[in-house]
């Protein structure tokens, strides 16, 4: 799949990308091939329809939420660097990385992953998960299984549990806190194949 003749040189800015995301050359190449595969019309960028063409993704309950996360607000297309940057969140976090304070939090650290998850909820990017947003996600995940009331109760309860400053929304810190016992790195990592 993908053109096997592509090598690193065909990928624009590959060095910067590797630097930024931490992907190795082999990973990057493979992702590029995948990108090209998804980009059926060879447009050079991806549109939502291309994503939806992936069979399993369309049957995923939160498929469209995931797809939506690739697109920055207002944008309709995803180019390769953005694609890779998003996927960089799912690299396994490196342990014992010495970071100087100046470097931004890498995308694949626990915090980076959590931020990604947070943004899945927080679509309007206001920094808080409101009840509506939570409900939306819940609704998507639970589909036909529960009534609207049950959904609301659950959302209610979830907010109760997490909402420490009682503004009836979950901020990123509260989100992070509620998940402090979960091994995020384990849960949100993919071992990318070469």
């Amino acid at each position: 799949m993908g053109s096997s003749s592509s090598n690193l040189n065909t990928i624009p800015n590959s060095q910067e990308l590797m630097q930024e995301t931490g992907f190795s050359a082999a990973h990057l190449l493979r992702l590029y091939e995948r990108f090209e595969f998804l980009d059926k019309d060879n447009k050079g960028h991806l549109r939502p329809e291309d994503f939806e063409a992936v069979q399993e993704l369309s049957t995923n309950p939160i498929g469209d939420i995931i797809i939506g996360s690739f697109f920055s607000p207002g944008q309709e297309t995803v180019d390769f660097p953005s694609f890779v940057r998003i996927l960089a969140h799912f690299r396994p976090a490196e342990k014992n990385r010495t970071r100087d304070g100046a470097q931004p939090e890498p995308a694949n650290s626990s915090t980076g992953k959590l931020k990604f998850a947070f943004q899945l909820y927080d679509r309007d990017r206001d920094g808080k998960i409101s009840r509506e947003e939570l409900l939306q996600v819940l609704r998507a995940m639970l589909e036909m299984q529960v009534t609207e009331e049950q959904l609301e109760s659950m959302a209610e309860r979830a907010i109760q549990e997490a909402d420490l400053d009682e503004d009836d929304a979950i901020s990123f810190d509260e989100f992070k806190k509620s998940l402090e016992k979960v091994n995020i790195d384990h849960k949100m990592s993919i071992h990318f194949m070469k």
Partner: protein, 780 residues
């Protein structure tokens, strides 16, 4: 989670084990109570004097015996019962002095008592209970007591110890050359079997981190299977004069057959049991019977094929747990748990007790060298084994075991019941059987006493990583689910798979196929919903528990649902409303979700042993916090679904509801249209105690019921637990208030409780929100 049932079946197995011990040993024993010399005492008329010539032999004329005793008739069960009682009394005795049990594991105490009794018996020259024959052992006793560490660790230990001991035996000075390699291996396999009881008790008390607990527990469970397999293999081999390589190969093959076969059988029986319980809705009383019988059947059938019965039972339990729990009623669940814990308790008691007795009363053959070296090697090899195995496995684990954990595991290798039993069933063809028996007993006593008593201080000293009981809140569940879906999606996007994919696939298969077949109401349940329901039910039960003390009266979700479908009688609807009221009160008052207890529970407590007070207190504080003046928004409460009345949403009654509650129902549920109606404040226990709780002002407008006719607004949420989403989903979602609307509403509410609420104060400030039934506001 998964641990509970394993543990419970483990205990159960141990129970059966004990019971059968007694069956067997009482065949030939005289037991504690010497049988009466005269089986029957009858009242006989005086004989005629002998010196009179008898014309004909007179038939002895005996009158109808008024009082007879026939001891042999009841001897066996009687003695069994006495033994069990004695051991149980001992157990009661320990707990009188709590301090003892904190530091000394129960197994030690029981062995001590056993030693004492044994000494007594010995001094009166009573025979010890006859030893078990292997048949009995394997058929009756073994099972119950019941995965990387287990198998490999035991293998490692057995082989290591066996070989080392063999080397020792070569040294002439010790006088044990006659023990050949096979016999050494056999013996080694016996003493490799680790017994969890003491260790896990300590771990629990110290609350070590769950990983450690699980590993040790799992190891103990599965290594029983391994040990038995090894034992069989080696005893088979010990009889053979020559061992060929092909035999070794066959041995390995057999090992896999045994292990996997056991799992397969277990899962098979688990499915059959699950399937059966699907149809038991009408015969709920015998549901526990199915569970037990199927488990036992799994065990027996695997014994039939000589595959690992312990694995069979464990896998059976795991499978059943998942599906059966949804099918059976709450009462059956409770019954099963109770019985299992009871049986487990008894058996564990008896086995250690018995150990003590037998120690004194058997003939021992003592060989210093052999025994001491056995002890030494047992420790050394276990330590090495743990070290090596951990090194191999750590890279694959997210949470690696540090040295302290490893120490805990190694030191926690106490020997116990299995070794004991196996030693006794060594074939007599082994020349040095007595020596083996003695050595086994020594090692058991040593590990149980020394290690058992010292492990607790040691663990605390080295500060093994403690558990952080996972707060599995709804939050976490939701977010984790989201993450899983995300990962599956991303993987699909990238065109590659990993374990999320398989997990996803399995869940789909499970939902589509398995659940449909095995569960009565087979709506595919999202885990979030399941958790939510469970938490709600738990909370509901906890409330009721404080209140009415009758937690077992709560039917399971399924049975409630079932009842709902059946009931058409008005009377039942009252119950429903009653229940609904409670649910409402619960949900209305924003209880915090009780943290789910960790997988393992205390030996003597059932799971879900609740501490209601804590909940109520938490509830108070959370209510307090939320009821800030004017911020109606923060008042979290749940209303009934708009539209339908409560009864459409809530399942009707429990049949088992206490009688006193029935009065509630009969009264005062007035017109159908006033759904929520005016629950009468009766003397029923359920509501009364709640008054004790003092609290905050309840916002009077918290109105649960909505009348569709009156167009009352329903607040926000709905529900409490047990209702399924059924087709009669209340339609008018638009009537649901956003909290802001409710705020306005609050302002305009006059609060006049409906007249039926005679018992209630008429003011608008309810004293006890917890208790207060939602007021039905006629105006709305």
């Amino acid at each position: 989670s998964v641990i509970k049932p394993i543990f419970s079946f483990f205990e159960r197995a141990a129970a059966l084990l004990i019971i059968c011990t007694f069956l067997s040993f009482l065949y030939g024993s005289r037991g504690e109570v010497p049988p009466k010399p005269t089986p029957g005492i009858t009242v006989v008329p005086p004989l005629k004097p002998n010196n009179e010539p008898q014309a004909y032999p007179d038939a002895e004329k005996s009158n109808l015996p008024v009082f007879t005793m026939d001891y042999p008739r009841i001897q066996i069960p009687f003695e069994i019962t006495l033994w069990m009682l004695l051991a149980s009394f001992a157990k009661i005795g320990f707990h009188v002095y709590h301090k003892i049990t904190v530091w000394v594991p129960e197994s030690c105490l029981l062995i001590s008592i056993g030693l004492i009794v044994g000494a007594i018996m010995h001094s009166v020259h009573e025979e010890p209970p006859a030893v078990l024959t292997s048949n009995v052992f394997f058929l009756y006793m073994l099972p119950p007591i019941v995965f990387w560490y287990a198998v490999m660790g035991t293998l490692w230990n057995s082989i290591g110890i066996g070989i080392s001991l063999f080397t020792i035996c070569q040294i002439e000075a010790f006088g044990v050359q006659d023990i050949n390699l096979q016999e050494n291996l056999l013996f080694a396999s016996i003493i490799s079997a680790v017994d969890p009881v003491a260790v896990l008790g300590v771990f629990e008390d110290v609350s070590v981190n769950e990983q450690l607990y699980i590993v040790v527990f799992g190891e103990c469970l599965f290594n029983d299977a391994v040990t038995v397999v090894l034992y069989n293999m080696f005893s088979f081999v010990a009889d053979m004069p020559v061992v060929e390589p092909v035999d070794v190969f066959l041995g390995v093959a057999r090992f896999f057959v045994v292990g996997l076969g056991g799992m397969g059988f277990g899962i098979l029986f688990g499915f059959v049991a699950a399937f059966t319980t699907r149809f038991t809705s009408k015969v709920r009383e015998i549901e526990p019977l199915f569970i037990f019988m199927f488990s036992y059947l799994a065990y027996l059938v695997s014994e039939l094929f000589a595959i690992s019965s312990i694995m069979a039972i464990v896998c059976c339990a795991l499978t059943m747990k998942y599906y059966v729990e949804e099918n059976v009623s709450q009462r059956s669940c409770t019954t099963i748990r109770h019985v299992v814990k009871m049986l487990g308790s008894i058996s564990e008691t008896l086995i250690f007790f018995f150990l003590g007795v037998v120690t004194i009363t058997t003939e021992h053959e003592w060989n210093w060298a052999y025994i001491l070296f056995t002890l030494l090697f047992a420790f050394v090899w276990r330590g090495l084994g743990i070290l090596v195995l951990t090194q191999i496995i750590n890279p694959f684990r997210t949470i690696s075991f540090n040295l302290k954990d490893q120490f805990g595991m190694a030191y926690g290798g106490l020997r116990g019941a299995i070794s004991f039993a196996l030693a006794f069933t060594l074939p007599d063809t082994i020349g040095r059987k007595q020596l083996f028996v003695t050595a086994t007993i020594v090692i058991i006593l040593f590990t149980v006493f020394l290690q058992g008593i010292s492990i607790r201080p040691l663990i605390e000293f080295i500060n093994v990583r403690r558990t952080n009981r996972n707060v599995d809140t709804i939050n976490v569940e939701i977010h984790c689910r989201l993450m899983e879906h995300t990962m599956a999606g991303i993987e699909d996007l990238c065109g590659q798979w990993s374990h999320f994919y398989w997990k996803d696939k399995f869940m789909k298969f499970n939902n589509r196929v398995l659940r449909r077949i095995l569960i009565r109401d087979n709506r595919a349940e999202s885990s979030i919903v399941a958790l939510y329901k469970k938490l709600e039910l738990q909370n509901a039960m906890e409330i009721l528990d404080t209140v009415s003390g009758d937690i077992s009266a709560a039917p399971s979700i399924v049975s409630l649902h079932e009842d709902k479908k059946e009931s058409a009688k008005p009377k039942k609807k009252f119950f429903a409303e009653d229940l609904k009221n409670m649910h409402n009160i619960l949900s209305k008052n924003m209880y915090k979700i009780r943290q789910r207890t960790v997988a393992y529970t205390s030996k003597y407590a059932l799971p879900n042993d609740s501490q209601p007070r804590e909940i109520l207190i938490r509830r108070h504080s959370s209510i307090r916090r939320s009821l800030r003046p004017g911020s109606f928004q923060s008042q979290k409460y749940f209303s009934l679904p708009a539209g339908q009345g409560l009864e459409s949403k809530f399942p009707p009654v429990r049949h088992s509801y206490a009688d006193e509650h029935e009065t509630m129902s009969e009264v005062a549920y007035p017109a159908r249209h006033s759904r929520f109606g005016q629950p009468k404040r009766s003397a029923s226990g359920a509501m009364m105690p709640l008054h004790r709780l003092d609290t905050l002002k309840e916002v009077p407008s918290v109105d649960v019921l909505n009348e569709s006719e009156k167009g009352s607004t329903s607040r926000g949420v709905s529900r409490t637990n047990s209702s399924y989403s059924d087709s009669r989903v209340p339609a008018p979602n638009d009537r649901r208030n956003a909290p802001t609307e409710a705020e306005e509403e609050q302002g305009e509410q006059p609060s006049s409780p409906p007249p039926a609420w005679a018992a209630e104060p008429r003011d608008s400030t309810p004293q006890n929100p917890l208790l207060r039934r939602p007021k039905w506001n006629p105006k709305k």
